[in-house]
Subunit: 524 residues, 2 copies
């Protein structure tokens, strides 16, 4: 008997005849629970239930969604011990500090920030032209499918993470497609979501959960005429299949696909504070066994003795550092295959380079190097994402060649510069940074990109293939909520029929763009 799926407010037995089990990555052993692969009829049932919920919620005030999100956050905290235990078993991520002290609070914090934004309505950007009597704001886009990744069982969970919170805050129901690596964790989230739905009297289909579908059915889901949009975080190949299906149907899909996060270390910085940079880089690159979207996977350096010392020191650090457990066999295999591709493309191994070195699924901490000439000849293969505890150092012969390397970069989530505090690197910075700026969503100075603060100014996004559209961020409230809104204009609508946020009286203290000025005032 497999675990039930959550459809239209009921935990029901799946009609699928195929099941799967999660695996404990630290022991490589399958876990007991069997989870169903849902057949299309089940997915379609969820879509129709979501569409009905969406219709039932038309015109609902943000307050309703805020209450649900807050109640849900409370319930998650009340059940946090079980969640931490399950996620640890399913992902091998450390319980402390990672799951308990970092990721779980981040998750409930995101839900509460999303609740605040829903309540205030700030994310809707009310815009009023009093002279023409045209008024506009963002409103819900319709049912949202969320495909969560393997590497954040809480903070990006399909039934509790950032995309989930944003989609609900915008007033949409969510169909969560749980990641196969942590289904039990996702089930507990969905259980609590359902309770929160009941307690706050939301439509039962506000949150639904299926664990797995065929690739074909996943594509049908994201392109279905009743769906509003999709959020996907995960591997590039699977994401592109969904993107094609959604694009063909004209349904927005927001993807976070791959990123190698170039770090440019300028020579003056190495001159000035090499040891600190060795430590910062190694910690950032090996933390969480390197399984972060913003892991620094490519470092661009200028050839010279200091750079050689730096490479040696990082190589040594990689050799000495404990090897973490990866999230699963798939991650280990992909990482091994990427290292293979990169070495075949001309990179040399400085440290690591083989499976093993730790517990369960693992691969040695791996440092690779290649010179600028080789990189320019083979830049596509050398930008293969190695998702895990590894990085490729590109040693350029001149600042000109560093610039050429940068011009060959694909789109990334982040780009980082380390430079001398004395100004010694400023010419090189001024030359190189504007080019990196156009290739990345977030530009950093003097710190590693692995921290992604939940800030209104954050951009966890970037040009393709990092994401599907460089104008949106997956982290940061209220910006992340916009992805799940549609622009709704009211032209000459009778006053009493306008949404509260667009009426002359400002219903709260929400900022509105009135005749070109942002104000919290009423309209006279």
């Amino acid at each position: 008997m497999s675990q039930p799926v959550l459809i239209a407010g009921q935990w029901i037995a799946s009609k699928g005849d195929r099941t799967f089990q999660a695996v404990n990555p630290a022991t490589c052993e399958s876990l007991a629970d069997k989870f169903p692969v849902s057949p299309w009829a089940e997915v379609e049932q969820a879509i129709h239930a979501a569409a009905n919920a969406s219709a039932a919620m038309r015109g609902w005030p943000g307050e309703r969604f805020a209450r649900f999100l807050e109640r849900y956050a409370d319930r998650i905290e009340a059940r946090s011990e079980e969640l931490i235990e399950l996620a640890h078993t399913e992902t091998a991520l450390p319980k402390q500090p990672r799951l308990k002290d970092a990721e779980l609070p981040r998750t409930t914090n995101q839900l509460r920030q999303a609740a605040s934004a829903a309540r205030a309505g700030s994310w809707t950007q009310p815009t009023i032209d009093t002279k023409a009597n045209i008024r506009a704001m963002f409103g819900p886009i319709g049912p949202v499918a969320v495909f969560g990744p393997n590497n954040f069982p809480f903070a990006f969970n399909s039934a509790a993470g950032g995309d989930f919170a944003a989609a609900i805050a915008a007033g949409n129901p969510v169909i969560a497609k749980g990641h196969s690596s942590h289904p039990a964790t996702t089930r507990v989230f969905a259980e609590e979501a359902l309770q929160a739905i009941r307690e706050t009297e939301m439509p039962p289909a506000l949150v639904q959960l299926i664990y797995r579908t065929s690739h074909e059915d996943g594509a049908k889901l994201v392109g279905h005429r009743l769906m509003g949009a999709t959020g996907y975080t995960g591997a590039r190949h699977a994401g592109l299949v969904l993107k094609e299906a959604a694009d063909r149907a004209g349904k927005p899909i927001y993807l976070e696909l791959s990123s190698i996060n170039p770090v440019v270390v300028l020579p003056g910085a190495l001159e000035e504070r090499m040891d600190a940079i060795v430590t910062e880089f190694s910690s950032s690159c090996l933390m969480g066994t390197g399984q972060f979207c913003t892991n620094p996977g490519l470092v661009i350096l200028l050839a010279g003795p200091k750079t050689e010392t730096f490479i040696q020191a990082v190589g040594q650090k990689f050799g000495e550092s404990p090897v973490g457990t990866m999230l699963g066999e798939g991650v280990q295999k992909s990482f091994a295959s990427a290292i293979d591709t990169i070495t075949k493309a001309g990179a040399k191994i400085v440290a690591g380079g083989a499976v093993g070195g730790g517990r369960g699924y693992c691969y040695q901490n791996t440092l690779l190097r290649v010179d600028g000439d080789h990189f320019l000849e083979n830049s596509e293969a050398l930008q293969t994402e190695a998702f895990g505890n590894g990085s490729l150092f590109v040693v350029a012969s001149s600042v000109d060649q560093m610039a050429a390397v940068i011009e060959h970069l694909e789109g990334n989530l982040t780009g980082t510069f380390y430079s001398a505090t004395t100004g010694a690197d400023d010419d090189a910075y001024d030359r190189l940074a504007p080019a990196v700026r156009t290739k990345v969503g977030r530009l950093l100075n003097d710190k590693m990109p692995t921290g992604v603060a939940v800030s209104p100014a954050m951009n966890h996004g970037g040009p393709f293939p990092a994401t599907g559209h460089p104008g949106f961020t997956a982290v940061g409230i209220p910006a992340a909520i916009h992805r799940f809104g549609m622009l709704q204009c009211y032209d000459g609508i009778r006053p009493h029929r306008l949404p509260e946020l667009l009426q002359n009286r400002n219903p709260g203290s929400v900022f509105r763009l009135v005749d070109g000025r942002w104000t919290t005032d009423d309209i006279a």
Copy 2:
């Protein structure tokens, strides 16, 4: 000898061996000038020149783009007589009031509004988190290809219209793909753009012009790795080919494809002011020979004697009204084919229904009707866009059936309600309007949708297939500019390296979202 193309600041002879000529729609005769179909090498040359221009302009202040746009607007005005003459010959649109008094001023107004937004930087939405020292704003996305439509030779021209103005205001070069129906008009715009480029010392490739390419090369253009984004307004089929190519490459493409703009006329409104509605509807539907994206192509009515009177009256008005000239043979053929599809799907002809009735390419003013049962059985075919002087009336048997008809609607740019001023229709409105709201970008009360004000609160957009993404508008400043921006975050960037708009001192009086509050203040 064919007309030259504008590449990298030079008017050069095209290397293409194929040419085309525009046709005067009023006489059905070809015009003298021959225009080239550019081969791929020429398109590629334009892409590389645009990419270089884009790189050269990195970090430039909005002031530079504002000066260019304003100078260009002045030059257009100075040459307006010639433009009006050419556009009239190429499109058969009336010189007055349409081209001279409405469309040309609208075009220069858009350019100047875009200039203001570029100068102020208001469109960049600077967002600052002082505590975390994370700052973000929108910046240029890269070279933009603009494909203009046939129906607005000025206001949506690929080298002067709304998409053009928005792309430049965001700091991007434009590759204009002129519409084949008005190439000479577009050439004059590009001549003036080049002069304005020289006078304001912008990169020569800021504006380039090609007149036509093969479909394959158009697809290669929008998906090219050096391109930033594409704006397309035109027929659905051609747009979807470009969309697929751009989507596959992960390049944003903004499309305006098709819309039938449902109008719901509730019974109390007919009771109260039938004559006025007959006049308003007929003028709106026949104006410009119905060749507007927001033409009211579908009217939903409740069965009854008043509705029969209304249909008869509109039919009579259509029969009495002069038949306008269409933009070309293609428009006439598409319109005839759409009317054929709609009648085959069960609609009956009330008025018109045949080619002719006016001068040049034309088709009788055509009114069709179908009952709600037939519509629900065949809703896809009955939503075929008939771009021109026609409309389909759907007569529903009950408010329930009106609701069902609305649930079957595809995405549209606009949705309109006429209702009694007494409140007699309010129950029906409250029932139906929320459903229409989710299907359209702009909701209207008591007026026809054909007017599209250039207002910050305008939404000229809507769910697919009206456009490719329901979160963006093609008209309205600053919102339309966002389409051509990428989100750029600065995380821990040294203060002197920040863009001026993100530094602690507010460089002008631009509104910035600082720690959750929109303000024009400096940061302490």
